[in-house]
């Protein structure tokens, strides 16, 4: 129940300290801040991967509702049979900052499932990085204003 005192120093410093304390000896990528703050989907991909070019792929499956029950909680599952997946990223072009999440696989299977926020009807883009190039597929999720639930 201990409340951690928030570090008022620079964000970067606090993050480094926290990582150091929680996850000792790890050698991982740095947090891709620019990609998550970019307001443009292509720009965010460019920040994340150095390119926004991807090949449309039938080997990636997105499981997401056609109509979101509530834009605050939209279940999204991405799976892919592509070999040697390095990462899976979820991008929502209609959100103020489209890059939602990026999973570096470290040898785990080509599967992630999470729940995301969607501000309005938009494509959900699943981007798979494998063999140094990007593959992607998309699915539209409709976000409506509800009568009572919304």
């Amino acid at each position: 129940m201990k409340r951690r005192t928030l570090l008022k120093t620079s964000l970067a410093a606090s993050v480094v300290m926290a990582v150091g304390s929680v996850i000792p000896g790890r050698v991982m990528a740095a947090y891709p801040k620019a990609a998550f703050e970019n307001k443009d989907a292509a720009g965010a991909l460019n920040d994340m991967f150095g390119t926004s070019d991807y090949a449309e792929s039938g080997d990636i499956k997105i499981k997401a509702p056609e109509i979101a029950e509530n834009g605050a909680v939209v279940p999204v599952q991405v799976s892919s049979s592509i070999a040697n997946i390095e990462s899976i990223s979820i991008v929502v072009s209609g959100n103020p900052t489209p890059m939602i999440a990026s999973f570096n696989m470290h040898g785990s299977e080509g599967f992630v499932s999470t729940r995301i926020k969607m501000g309005k009807t938009s494509d959900v883009l699943a981007v798979v990085k494998a063999g140094g190039s990007l593959h992607a597929t998309r699915q539209e999720v409709k976000v409506t204003i509800g009568g009572c639930g919304g």
């Binding site: 029950e69 939209v74 279940p75 204003i145 009572c148």
Partner: protein
Amino acid sequence: MRKTIYTIVVSLITSMIGTLALASTPTEDLKAFQQYYMDRFPDTPKSDFNNGVYSIDAAARETFESIEEFAPYEIDIEKGEELYHKPFANGGTYNDCFGEPGVRHLYPQFDSETGKIVTLESAINDCRKAAGEKKLKYKKGTIAELTAYMAYESRGNVFDIKIPNDPRALAHYNRGKRHWYSKRGQLNMACADCHWTNAGNMLRAERLGPAFGHMTHFPKYRAKWGNLGTPHRRFAGCNSQVRAKPFKAQSDEYKALEYFLTYMGNGLEANGPATRK
């Protein structure tokens, strides 16, 4: 779109014919109430009505089931379990009052001594008061964590709300029933307009859930709230949405409404807590 509006208008008119007779007994009401929904949604097995709108909306149900697979309220159940078993300052526990945590399906109750309705939430605070502890707030937070654990422990038990043959108990029941069928607020809408007459129809982009099964799953985690809420938090929301002034949580009015509506779901399995949109 035009057709939907037409349907709603027609239904609003017919709703005046379709309501339960005011002079009927609770047993007669219950039978007519449950039969109405079973006739209206013949594809829904009776036991499935405790899943609310998801019992009649297959697409929405997929999302619901995906979230229920590992629902955010599971963290609240864990907190509730700790809270429930943590002794009070005087050494007593909730078990001294409830016997066991799994009693969600037995509330609300009519207390023949005081002549009042006791909800699970009011019973929790009565228990705390007797032990010299501070009262909890009624709509969300700690009380909902406690009831989440209690509801979880009650899962699978069948709701069995009793309306004893006591004029005071019947008065509460009828007050709740009247609330449910009375038009209120600037929009001049009754609970029944949406959840009886128009159950299954669309209100803008929203499918209206049947009222049979409305009370089985509390406390609920609504995506809209981002946390758990008690029945009276939801009632207040419903009243506000038709632009009526909500009653206070645990007011006699809401207790009566909860008594009526929970009784109408007798025979359904307790399945709280649950997620809703």
